[in-house]
């Protein structure tokens, strides 16, 4: 600012003397700043266009001023009413109630949500029964919940920092411990830099609109999570969808996008591929090396949501990049959840310095929200240290997953879409044998491809499952398992608000905090419950 004010000073002196002459032009000055900028930039490109643009701009300002004073009264749908008529209309209008009371089914749904008495962990106690259960519902993959060392560090941090940060990062809410955690995450992943958000769920729905604007192109998987859908919705970008985890379909769509652009001779816009590492909806895992290859080939940027793969796969839990041995730098925006992967709270986005800095100004839930409590940040840093130094955590987790799959894969009344290494295991009720395959089993017959502009896949019309009956049956399974001392949960959905209705499923979350024996026993209970309830149904 120094240089500016120095230039300002002589200018002011000059202005003082010539104030009178400037007075007339002053009124136009607020606009003139904008105009001048426009003229300069357009003049540089095409001098002939300057005049045209200037006129256009004036017109734009004029219409803007018009609409502000007269609202949309000029619209052709506007009906003129007298005051008396308006009063009558106001009297007549009866709004719907703000919220319909819950239906009996919804009430039962809410009542069936397990509430834990005391600390959560592999064997928590339930409020409803007072009994201790084995926990295959809560997300505690690495078993860091309740870790004594982390507790100790959290208390130390509390004594130095208090609890809340009391400010957004821009205004004295950036603490050294936040910067430490950002660096720890970046180092852990091998990325250049990382940025911390205060809630895992809000991370991706803020990252997407930070980069994708109106006119940009997003190519996204049809099976992405709710949070990604919301991010895409708020970005107002043009979206093209490809079949769930089908990279062939992705390639077709990418080619289609390029073709479309060449046909329209449009300018080069930002283009993104958005997908998940391990899908929240069904536990399917993406083929990262192939995805990276496609992204480079077609010059798209990749936004990869690793919420369920960070802290759960790879030798030390670094996620898909470690599992596939791909440098994290190749993923442009790598989003993960500190809450899920490190059993703390918050989320992050790792990438290049430019990518991270961009979000510090443009990420809505970063800019407009308080930074996370310092003790949670330190707990997460400590979690990374533990993961780094204890690869046995991940080995145990993977062993437990294998053990669970060994049991479940042999149950024939269910299908499991999840990848064998996925720490979340989704369980569908097997459809009657008449219909062939589930859509997520990507091997559908190569007839007509789905329409990339629609989020619904081509075969959506053939889906033969009924949400309500399947949910009811699965809830019976959940209750049966709970009666036998194993807490599991249905995957909870926002029916009616989801872009594509996910198939009802039970979602098991495995943890390294249980031994293989305990896991086998618990999954055995789940299996018995499945067989019992689903067998009854037949």
């Amino acid at each position: 600012m120094n240089s500016t004010s120095e230039t300002l000073e002589p200018l002011f002196n000059f202005l003082d003397t010539s104030l009178l002459t400037l007075e007339d032009t002053f009124n136009k000055l607020p606009g003139s700043a904008v105009i001048l900028r426009y003229v300069r930039s357009s003049h540089r490109n095409d001098p002939g266009r300057t005049v045209l643009e200037l006129i256009l701009l004036l017109f734009a300002i004029w219409t803007l001023l018009q609409s502000r004073t007269r609202a949309d009264r000029t619209e052709k749908h506007f009906i003129q009413f007298t005051d008396k008529e308006i009063d009558e209309l106001v009297d007549e209008w009866t709004p719907e109630p703000l919220g319909q009371p819950l239906s009996a089914k919804e009430q039962a749904d809410l009542a069936s949500v397990p509430i834990i008495a005391g600390p959560n962990g592999p064997k928590p106690k339930l409020v409803s029964t007072g009994k201790t259960v084995t926990n295959l519902a809560s997300l505690n993959f690495t078993g860091l919940a309740g870790n004594e060392h982390i507790k100790q560090r959290a208390i130390e941090t509390l004594k130095k920092y208090g609890l809340g940060s009391c400010g957004p990062p821009g205004f004295y809410g950036t603490l050294d411990v936040h910067m430490d955690l950002e660096r720890d995450i970046a180092d852990f992943l091998g990325a250049e830099s990382a940025i911390l958000y205060s809630q895992g769920f809000s991370t991706i729905s803020s990252v997407v609109p930070a980069f994708c604007k109106r006119g940009d192109i997003i190519v996204a998987d049809r099976g992405v999570s709710f949070a990604i859908h919301k991010g895409i919705q708020i970005s107002r970008s043009t979206v093209r969808w490809y079949d769930h985890n089908d990279l062939k379909s992705l390639e077709d769509v990418l080619e289609g996008v390029e073709k479309e652009r060449r046909k329209r001779r449009g300018p080069l816009t930002r283009r993104f591929i958005i997908t998940e590492g391990i899908f929240e909806k069904d536990g399917v895992m993406v083929d990262l090396p192939k995805l990276i290859e496609l992204k480079y080939k077609h010059k798209f940027r990749l936004i990869l949501d690793e919420s369920f793969s960070f802290g759960t796969v790879g030798r030390t839990g670094r996620g898909l990049t470690e599992l596939y041995n791909v440098p994290a730098e190749k993923v442009d925006m790598l989003v993960g959840s500190v809450a899920i992967g490190l059993c703390s709270s918050g989320g992050f986005c790792a990438g290049s310095q430019t990518v991270v800095d961009h979000q510090r100004i443009n990420g809505p839930s970063f800019v407009f929200s308080a930074s996370m409590p310092p003790l949670l940040s330190v707990s997460a840093s400590e979690g990374i240290n533990i993961l780094r130094s204890t690869p046995s955590i991940l080995t145990t987790l993977q062993e437990n997953i294998r053990a669970a799959r060994a049991i479940l894969d042999r149950v024939d009344c269910i299908t499991i879409p999840s990848h064998p290494a996925s720490p979340i295991i989704h369980i569908y009720v097997r459809s009657a044998p008449t219909t062939s395959l589930h859509p997520s089993a990507a091997a559908h017959s190569p007839t007509k491809p789905s329409n990339p502009a629609s989020v619904l896949p081509r075969d959506a019309a053939n889906w033969d499952w009924d949400v309500e009956t399947e949910e009811r049956v699965l809830q019976d399974v959940v209750e049966e398992a709970l009666a036998q001392g194993v807490m599991i949960t249905k995957a909870k959905r926002l029916r009616g608000q989801e872009a594509v209705e996910p198939r009802p499923s039970i979602r098991l979350a495995l943890t390294s905090a249980l031994t293989k024996k305990e896991t086998e026993k618990a999954v055995g209970v789940v299996k018995t419950a499945l067989v019992k309830v689903l067998g009854r149904r037949r």
Binding site: S5, W93, L102, N135, L139, L158, L494
Partner: protein, 682 residues
């Protein structure tokens, strides 16, 4: 700082390497009168250059003036300051007036707080009750205009900034295309940030980056520890020097001063970490709910006076992900034009139509209501399913209070639903700290939905939404957070529980200590509920007497109310233009010129008693009304507010900021400080 001591001159620069001799020579040569801002600026740039060169040298300590007999330099303090190089260097001297209270406590005054976190202030004269005078109209939001030449120079400043920016871009792109590669298409990738979109950030905001994202450490209480930084390349990179500066913190949203590392709340949090750990492992509906959530939600509902409440782990998401559960297609949201980004995010996701009305302008709201109800939905003219009016209780950039009494009258007539975002007002306003409804003495249940956050007054994190039981149950099930977002963690829940309970007091109530003010006030038609029943807290959570009795909570509320009014009225009496309601703890002071923002920020920070402030400009505010925003806290003592007023007085003279009331009506800062109680009561 004793009231009689000579005021530290703004030239007592205390930048990265606080070497006093560095500036002495300079000021004796050219800056003796220190009249103009420009001369200050050039001194600054030279000081910067020196600091840059001396970066790495160890800072020279000011000779220590030992006052170690005082109570705050107890062994606890030593623990607190461990690993803090600057405090070792300075010992326990009080050179900046921040570490120790001005008046040493008398033998019967026992302060349990750390003065640096929560100031010691025993004088009962410096207390007020935050309450609306019944029958009085709520002041409308007036935008006081500065003199003509200020507006003119503001526009010209922006004009010059923009021109210089474009010239630099023009030249830069030719001379060093390397530094523009991220703005042009490269290798077939469109730039992440277009040249045009990022112009403001690159050419205007970068100049002031010094004022933003300042890294800090420790508690964001009455004072805060800055991690000093310098920029060798005009704010493109910031380098931490490794030194620290303690500064008076009038910027954090710590209204009730609960940002504390010591005290009953912190002890409760420590206990819960031992018992529960730090994680809840998952979403509320999928195995992440604990008994602590149930208890906290019940207490929050009790606190805000609603049937039920749901809490979420992030304040932003409380709006952005829960509003879609309230409205949808065919509904209309009427939103104040200055509503927070999270509200806009949420309404956009909900699919409802959105209309805006002029900030806090009830005429504009009514006109809009008449229009939308009579016109119905666009094109089809079908009547709206429902209309939801969303306002904030206290606006974070303006300090205005929503005109709830009038909105409620309109609500009766126009049958809309009312959503009040109390992010800043909950805890900070009202005789019982229950927000705007309490301030206006309105039954909270006449408002349909009360939303708020715990990040501010409660020193925690996250937010809540409260309403009728059936509505909140619907939000639990149909809001985006229930199935997908992580639940609030036990330490945060406990901070909420402990701080909230200490504002309410826990029954069985202890006898009121100072007879005068009862806990339960009966006035008008609304009888305020009493303290929280002891059964509403988990049995392991025991609060110390001062918190459980509600006396400390009451003191905090009254200190905040006093400090807010004192600072606000004091600034007005000094001749500044301020915005907002005098009772609001958010006090915006108008600066107008963009260049003054940097200057103001820097001059406040470089004082002998460093003060950190928040400056905000376009796009957070309209282009011309750049401002500095003070957030007053109950943790501040009256003397702290004095320090701020004195600083503003001096800086305001140098920067020519006093354009409010006429010279004749103004008071000197000494007069204001002397008659503080009178000023606050005005």
């Amino acid at each position: 700082m004793p009231a009689s001591s000579p005021l530290p001159s703004p030239m007592a620069l205390n930048i990265a390497a606080p070497n006093p001799s560095m500036f002495k020579k300079r000021s004796s040569q050219t800056l003796a009168p220190l009249a103009s801002a420009a001369s200050y600026l050039s001194a600054l740039s030279q000081a910067d250059a020196r600091a840059r060169h001396s970066h790495g040298r160890t800072p020279t300590a000011t000779p220590a003036l030992s006052l170690s007999s005082s109570i705050t330099s107890s062994s606890e303090d030593t623990v607190l300051n461990e690993g803090d190089p600057s405090s070792h260097a300075h010992g326990f001297d009080n050179f900046d007036g921040l570490a120790l209270p001005v008046r040493p406590p008398t033998s019967e005054q026992v302060f349990t707080t750390l003065h640096t976190e929560f100031g010691h202030c025993a004088n009962e004269a410096y207390r007020l009750t935050s309450q609306h005078t019944q029958g009085e109209a709520v002041p409308a939001h007036v935008e006081q205009d500065p003199p003509y030449y200020i507006l003119l120079s503001t526009y010209i400043s922006y004009l010059i900034l923009i021109c210089v920016g474009h010239v630099r871009d023009f030249v830069g792109k030719r001379l060093s295309p390397g530094s523009y590669t991220h703005l042009v298409p490269r290798n077939g990738y469109a730039p992440l940030n277009s040249d045009f979109d990022s112009f403001y950030t690159r050419r205007l905001k970068t100049r002031m980056d010094e004022c933003f994202s300042q890294p800090v450490t420790g508690v964001a209480g009455r004072t805060i520890m800055l991690l000093d930084r310098i920029s060798p390349d005009y704010n493109h990179t910031q380098i931490l020097t490794g030194t620290r500066t303690r500064a008076l913190n009038i910027s954090s949203y710590n209204y009730l001063g609960f940002a504390q590392a010591r005290g009953g709340c912190a002890d409760a949090v420590e206990e819960v970490i031992r018992r529960y750990g730090v994680s809840t492992c998952g979403a509320r509906l999928e195995g992440g709910s604990s008994d602590l959530h149930t208890v906290t939600e019940a207490l929050v509902a009790n606190f805000v006076g609603m049937e039920d409440a749901m809490i979420s782990s992030m304040g932003f998401a409380t709006n952005s992900a829960l509003i879609p559960a309230l409205v949808g297609k065919g509904c209309l949201v009427i939103s104040d034009e200055l509503n927070h980004a999270s509200i806009r995010f949420g309404t956009r996701l909900s699919g409802a139509n959105v209309r805006m009305f002029k900030h806090n302008d009830m005429g504009s709201l009514e006109a809009l209501l008449r229009e939308v109800i009579s016109q119905g939905q666009p094109k089809t003219h079908r009547p709206w399913k429902k209309i939801l009016v969303i306002v904030e209780g206290l606006y974070s950039m303006e300090g205005t209070l929503a005109n709830i009494p009038v909105i409620l009258e309109l609500k009766k007539k126009y049958k809309f639903y009312l959503f009040v975002d109390e992010a800043h007002s909950i805890g900070a306003l009202g005789p019982h700290g229950r927000g705007v409804a309490d301030y206006f003495n309105i039954p909270p249940r006449s408002i349909d939905i009360l939303m708020g956050t715990f990040t501010k007054s409660f020193g925690a994190a996250g937010g809540y939404i409260a309403g009728t039981k059936s509505l909140i149950d619907r939000v639990r099930l149909r809001g985006h957070l229930g199935p997908y977002a992580e639940a609030m963690t036990p330490p945060v829940l406990t901070q909420v529980l402990a701080s909230m309970a200490s504002i309410m007091g826990v029954s069985p109530p202890l006898p009121p200590l100072d007879g005068g003010e009862g806990v339960v006030t009966t006035s008008g038609t609304y009888v305020h509920p009493g303290p929280a029943p002891a059964s509403s807290l988990p049995n392991w959570l025991t609060l110390p007497y001062a918190l459980a009795s509600g006396t400390e909570g009451r003191t905090r509320l009254r200190r905040l109310a006093f400090n807010s009014r004192y600072l606000h009225n004091g600034l007005i009496k000094l001749g500044f233009i301020t915005y907002g309601h005098p009772s609001s703890p958010i006090v915006p002071l108008l600066l107008f010129n963009p260049g003054k923002m940097n200057m103001f920020h820097r001059m406040m920070k470089d004082r002998k008693t460093p003060i950190i402030v928040v400056v905000v400009a376009y796009p957070a505010t309209p282009l011309v009304t750049s401002r500095v925003r003070f957030c007053v806290s109950a943790a501040h003592t009256k003397e702290d507010v004095d320090v701020v007023l004195r600083a503003c007085d001096e800086v305001g003279d140098v920067l020519d900021l006093k354009h409010g009331i006429g010279r004749g009506e103004r008071w000197t800062v000494e007069k204001i400080v002397e008659r503080a109680a009178e000023v606050a009561g005005m």
